[in-house]
C-alpha cells in the first residue's frame, strides 16, 4: 500500500479512552501500524509519560522496551546525522530524534511513515528507489584523467568549496521526498535529494562529469518535472535547499540545451 493514503486513514484511529485530564508530563501517541503478513493497518494509541527533554524517538523506544515490542521503526544515531528516523509527526515530515514531545502538548501526536513511499511495516518505508536514483546521477568525482596520489591534493579554494558545500550536507533522510508533491504523483521523479547531490558534484571544482550527469537530470523524470513548490527546502533538517539546486540546474540545463543548437562544438568537453 502507498503511504499517501495515510491522511485518509485518520478516521481509523483508535483513541485512548482515558477520559480524565492527563498530567502535563503525559502525552498520547497515535502510531500507524501495518502488518505486511496480513495487510492489516490501524492506528494504535500509547500513553507515554515523558521528561521535558524527550523526543518522539525516545517515546517510541520507551514503547518498544516496556509496552509493545512489536512496534517497528528505524533509528540509530539519535543526533540528527544518520538519517534513519524520518517519520510523519502530526502530518509533518520530521527526524523523530529532534522532534520534542513538549512541542506537541497537549497532544495527541500522530506518528506515521513518511508520505509518498511504500510501507514495509509500521513506520518502516521502502526507499530502495532513492538509492537507484542516487546511483543514476553518478554521485562521484568523474575525471578524464585521475590525478596520481603522489601529486597530492587538488587545490580548492574556500570560495570554490563554498559554492557546493551546502549541497554536500544531505543525510538521505527522505523528508524532502515525503514533502514533494511531484514525487507523490510520479514515483519515478529523481527527486530533491538526488538532484541536489548531482548538482553538488557538478559544482565541485575537482569534477569533470557534468555532461554525463546532464543526460540524467535533463531526462523526463529529471529537473523539468519540478514545479518549484519548494517544500523540500522547507522540511530539510540540514538546510540543504534542494529547490535552489534544481532551479540552478534548470538555468544551466536550459543554456546547455540552447548551446547545443547554437554552438554544438562548445557543449563538448
Amino acid at each position: 500500500m502507498a503511504a499517501d493514503q495515510a491522511v485518509e486513514r485518520s478516521g481509523d484511529s483508535v483513541r485512548a479512552a482515558s477520559g480524565g485530564v492527563a498530567p502535563a508530563e503525559s502525552i498520547t501517541l497515535e502510531v500507524y501500524r501495518y502488518d505486511p503478513s496480513t495487510g492489516e493497518e490501524s492506528f494504535q494509541s500509547y500513553d507515554v509519560e515523558f521528561e521535558d527533554d524527550w523526543v518522539v524517538l525516545d517515546a517510541l523506544n520507551h514503547i518498544k522496551d516496556t509496552i509493545d515490542g512489536t512496534l517497528s521503526y528505524r533509528w540509530s544515531c539519535r543526533m540528527g546525522v544518520c538519517g534513519s528516523c524520518g517519520m510523519m509527526v502530526s502530518g509533518y515530515p520530521k527526524l523523530t530524534c529532534s522532534a520534542f514531545l513538549r512541542d506537541y502538548l497537549p497532544g495527541p501526536i500522530r506518528v506515521e511513515p513518511l508520505l509518498n513511499f511504500e510501507v514495509e511495516r509500521d513506520l518502516i518505508i521502502d526507499f530502495d528507489g532513492f538509492l537507484e536514483k542516487l546511483e543514476s546521477v553518478k554521485p562521484w568525482i568523474i575525471r578524464d584523467q585521475d590525478k596520481p596520489i603522489e601529486d597530492g591534493e587538488y587545490l580548492q579554494t574556500p570560495a570554490q568549496l563554498a559554492s557546493y558545500k551546502n549541497y554536500t550536507m544531505c543525510i538521505n533522510c527522505m523528508l524532502c521526498y515525503a514533502a514533494c508533491p511531484v514525487f507523490g504523483h510520479n514515483p519515478d521523479f529523481l527527486g530533491p535529494a538526488a538532484l541536489a547531490l548531482a548538482h553538488r558534484y557538478n559544482l565541485d571544482s575537482r569534477d569533470e562529469g557534468r555532461e554525463q550527469r546532464l543526460k540524467v537530470i535533463l531526462s523526463n523524470d529529471g529537473i523539468w518535472d519540478c514545479t518549484f513548490v519548494g517544500e523540500c527546502s522547507i522540511v530539510c533538517p540540514k538546510g540543504v535547499d534542494p529547490a535552489g539546486a534544481i532551479q540552478q540546474s534548470k538555468v544551466t540545463g536550459a543554456m546547455e540545451y540552447y548551446k547545443s543548437f547554437l554552438a554544438p562544438w562548445k557543449s563538448r568537453k
Binding site: 544515531c77 562521484w140 591534493e153
Partner: protein
C-alpha cells in the same frame, strides 16, 4: 538428511558498510576487478556510525610535521601498548589515504591557497588533523559510499544482519545472515571474509555510540574461536552532553575551547597537564597541554574533580563547562557549526553565548578482533578492520582523529589482502557451510517461537548489563567491583536464555534484531570485564585503584580473551616494540 539453507556465493564477503567496510570493498575491487564482492550491513551503509565522527582525521602533510612525530604521539598516547610496527605503517600510509579521499570528493576544509587545512587535536604535538568543518565522519562516509556506487562488482546486502561466521576446513568462508525485510536466513559465502562492523559502546548505559554499535562482528569472531584483544581498554570521551551522551567534538578544544569547573577554574592545570595560558595568549591552545591533553587523562581528571565537589550538579548528574564563547560566532559557525546545532537542540543552550555542559562518556573501544599488521586474524580467510579490530595502533588510549584514518589504512589492507586470499581459494564444502547456516537459522527460529518458555524482557536484561558495566568497568576500577560485574554478567547470560519476544513475525522484526544484538553484547561485555579484572595494573584508559601503577614487567602485553565454557579464558602476548622504548607519558609543555 541435514537441513541446509540457501547459499549466495561471492568471492569476498564484507560485514559492515561503514568507513572501513567501504574502503575495504573499494580496495578489493580495485585490486582484482574480476572478484565478486558482497557488503552485508544491518543498516544502509550511509547510516553506519562513521557518520557521527566529528573532529577530523590525522595524517602528516604539513612541512612542520614528520612521521616520527606522529608515531611518537600515537605510541606515547597509547601508554606504550600499541604495536610499533603497526603504528609506523599506519602513520606512513595515512597521508596517501587522506589524499585518496580528497580525490574521491571529500569536502575537506581548506587554507586560503586551496590546500587542505589542518587543526590541533588532543595528544598531538603538531597540527595534523584534516577536517571537514565538524562533520568529518559524515563527509568521509558519504564520499566513500557514493564512490562505491560506481563499482559494478560490489553487491550490497542492505539491512541483512550477520549471525555467525561459517567455517569449514579451517577456513572462514562466509556468514549466516538474516534478511530483516523477510526474516529469511541465508548463507552468504565468500572465499574470504572481512569484518568491519564497528565497536560496541552500547554495552555501557551512557555512550556517544549509536544504537547499532552492539559489537556484533566482535562477537561472531569470538564465537568462531578468534581472540578479542585488549578489550579492557574503553575510551571515555571527556565531552559528551549530559543525559543523551551526544558527542561534542574535541575540535572545540583544538580551536581553543576551555574546560572549567564550577568555581570557574580551568581545573586541568591541577592534573599534570601543564599550565593554563590565558585564552588571549597567542600561544593558546598549546599542543599536548591542558585541554589538548589525551582523552584518558581528561576523563580521569573529571572524576577527581567530581570527588572533590568541584563540578556542577544537574538533573542528568554531574558536569563541567566547555566554554567556546571567546572563539566568536564567526569561527563557531565556520568550523564548529554542528556543535552549535547539537548544543542548541539537545542542551538548550547557544554556545556562542553560554558554556556547554559536558561530562565523560563512553566513546570508543581500543580493543577488538585480534588482527596483525595485514588486517588478518588467526583464522585463515578472516580479516577485520576499523573499531571492531585491534591491530593495535591505539593500545591503552586512542588519540582523537586517529580512528577515521585507521578505517582507511587498515580497511585498504584488509581489502587488498582478502582479494589475494580469495583469488587463491575455493569453497571446501558448500553443503557443510549451508548446514552451519541452518543452525544459525534454528537459533533465530527458537527466539521467535520462545522455545524456552521464558518471560524475561530484552530491555530488562540490557539495562542490567549496562548498569553493571558502568559500576564495575568505568573510568576507575578495582577487583571487588570488577568481580561483581563479572558475576552479574554470567548471571545475565543465564537469564538471556529465558528471553521472551512480543513479536514472533518475520518481516522487519526489529525486536528480533534487539535480541540478537543483546546476545552479542553479553559476550562483548564479558570480554571487557574479565580482561579488566585480569590486568592488575593501571595503563591509559584502564585505571585500577587497587593497582595504580603501570607494570611493564608483567603487563607490557596484549590481553587475549578466548571464548570458553563459562568465563572467557584470558591469555597474553607481547607488544611489538621497535624503536620507542617504554617511557613515562608526559603532557604539558
Amino acid at each position: 538428511m541435514i537441513r541446509q539453507v540457501e547459499s549466495l556465493q561471492h568471492d569476498i564477503v564484507i560485514v559492515g558498510g561503514g568507513g572501513a567496510g567501504l574502503r575495504a570493498a573499494i580496495a578489493a575491487a580495485e585490486a582484482n576487478p574480476s572478484l565478486d564482492i558482497a557488503v552485508v550491513s544491518k543498516v544502509y551503509p550511509m547510516r553506519s556510525h562513521t557518520v557521527a565522527a566529528e573532529g577530523g582525521m590525522a595524517g602528516v602533510i604539513k612541512e612542520n610535521d614528520s612521521f616520527e612525530r606522529h608515531i611518537y604521539d600515537t605510541i606515547s598516547g597509547s601508554d606504550w601498548l600499541a604495536d610499533q610496527d603497526a603504528v609506523e605503517l599506519f602513520v606512513k600510509e595515512a597521508p596517501d589515504e587522506l589524499i585518496q579521499l580528497e580525490h574521491w570528493g571529500c569536502p575537506w576544509s581548506r587554507e586560503p591557497d586551496g590546500s587542505v587545512a589542518v587543526r590541533p587535536f588532543g595528544g598531538m604535538q603538531v597540527q595534523r588533523t584534516w577536517f571537514a568543518a565538524d562533520k568529518t565522519g559524515f563527509h568521509v562516509l558519504h564520499a566513500l559510499f557514493q564512490t562505491s556506487m560506481k563499482l559494478t562488482s560490489v553487491k550490497r546486502y542492505d539491512e541483512w544482519f550477520a549471525l555467525d561466521l561459517l567455517v569449514d576446513a579451517g577456513r572462514c568462508q562466509g556468514v549466516a545472515a538474516v534478511e530483516q525485510r523477510s526474516g529469511d536466513v541465508k548463507a552468504i559465502l565468500g572465499k574470504a571474509v572481512i569484518i568491519c562492523s564497528g565497536g560496541g559502546g552500547r554495552v555501557f548505559p551512557f555512550t556517544t555510540n549509536a544504537a547499532i554499535k552492539t559489537g556484533d562482528g566482535m562477537a561472531i569472531a569470538y564465537r568462531a574461536g578468534v581472540a578479542l584483544k585488549d578489550m579492557e581498554f574503553v575510551q571515555y570521551h571527556p565531552t559528551g552532553l549530559p543525559g543523551t551522551g551526544i558527542l561534542i567534538t574535541e575540535a572545540t578544544r583544538g580551536e581553543g575551547g576551555i574546560m572549567v569547573n564550577r568555581h570557574g577554574r580551568r581545573y586541568l592545570q591541577d592534573y599534570d597537564l601543564g599550565a593554563a595560558l590565558d585564552i588571549s595568549d597567542p600561544k593558546h591552545p598549546q599542543n599536548r597541554t591542558m585541554e589538548l591533553g589525551p582523552r584518558d587523562r581528561l576523563s580521569q581528571a573529571f572524576v577527581m574533580e567530581a570527588q572533590a565537589g568541584n563540578v556542577f550538579e544537574g538533573r542528568h548528574g554531574t558536569y563541567v563547562h566547555l566554554d567556546i564563547r571567546h572563539l566568536g560566532e564567526k569561527i563557531i559557525d565556520s568550523k564548529l557549526p554542528f556543535v552549535r546545532e547539537l548544543a542548541q537542540n539537545y542542551a538548550g543552550i547557544d554556545p556562542v553565548k553560554e558554556p556547554i555542559p559536558v561530562r565523560p562518556v563512553v566513546h570508543y573501544m581500543m580493543g577488538g578482533i585480534d588482527t596483525d599488521i595485514a588486517a588478518a586474524t588467526d583464522l585463515p580467510g578472516l580479516y577485520a578492520a576499523g573499531e571492531c579490530a585491534c591491530v593495535s595502533i591505539n593500545g591503552a588510549n586512542r588519540l582523537g582523529s586517529n580512528s577515521l584514518t585507521e578505517l582507511l589504512v587498515f580497511g585498504y589492507h584488509a581489502g587488498r589482502n582478502a582479494a589475494v586470499f580469495a583469488g587463491d581459494s575455493g569453497f571446501s564444502d558448500i553443503g557443510s557451510l549451508e548446514a552451519q547456516a541452518a543452525r544459525s537459522e534454528t537459533r533465530v527460529r527458537d527466539l521467535l517461537s520462545n522455545s524456552s518458555g521464558g518471560t524475561e524482557r530484552i530491555a530488562t536484561i540490557r539495562d542490567a548489563m549496562t548498569k553493571t558495566m558502568e559500576e564495575g568497568a568505568g573510568i576507575y576500577r578495582d577487583a571487588k567491583a570488577l568481580r561483581a560485574t563479572c558475576d552479574n554478567l554470567l548471571e545475565l547470560r543465564e537469564r538471556f536464555s529465558n528471553v521472551n519476544l512480543d513479536d514472533s513475525s518475520l518481516a522487519f522484526n526489529t525486536e528480533l534484531t534487539l535480541a540478537l544484538e543483546l546476545d552479542f553484547m553479553l559476550d562483548v561485555a564479558q570480554t571487557v570485564a574479565f580482561s579488566a579484572l585480569a590486568r592488575k595494573e593501571s595503563r591509559g584508559s584502564h585505571q585500577r585503584t587497587d593497582h595504580p601503577e603501570r607494570d611493564d614487567g608483567q603487563y607490557l602485553k596484549h590481553s587475549l580473551a578466548f571464548r570458553a565454557d563459562g568465563e572467557p579464558r584470558i591469555e597474553y602476548k607481547d607488544v611489538t616494540i621497535t624503536k620507542w622504548p617504554p617511557a613515562e607519558r608526559i603532557y604539558g609543555s
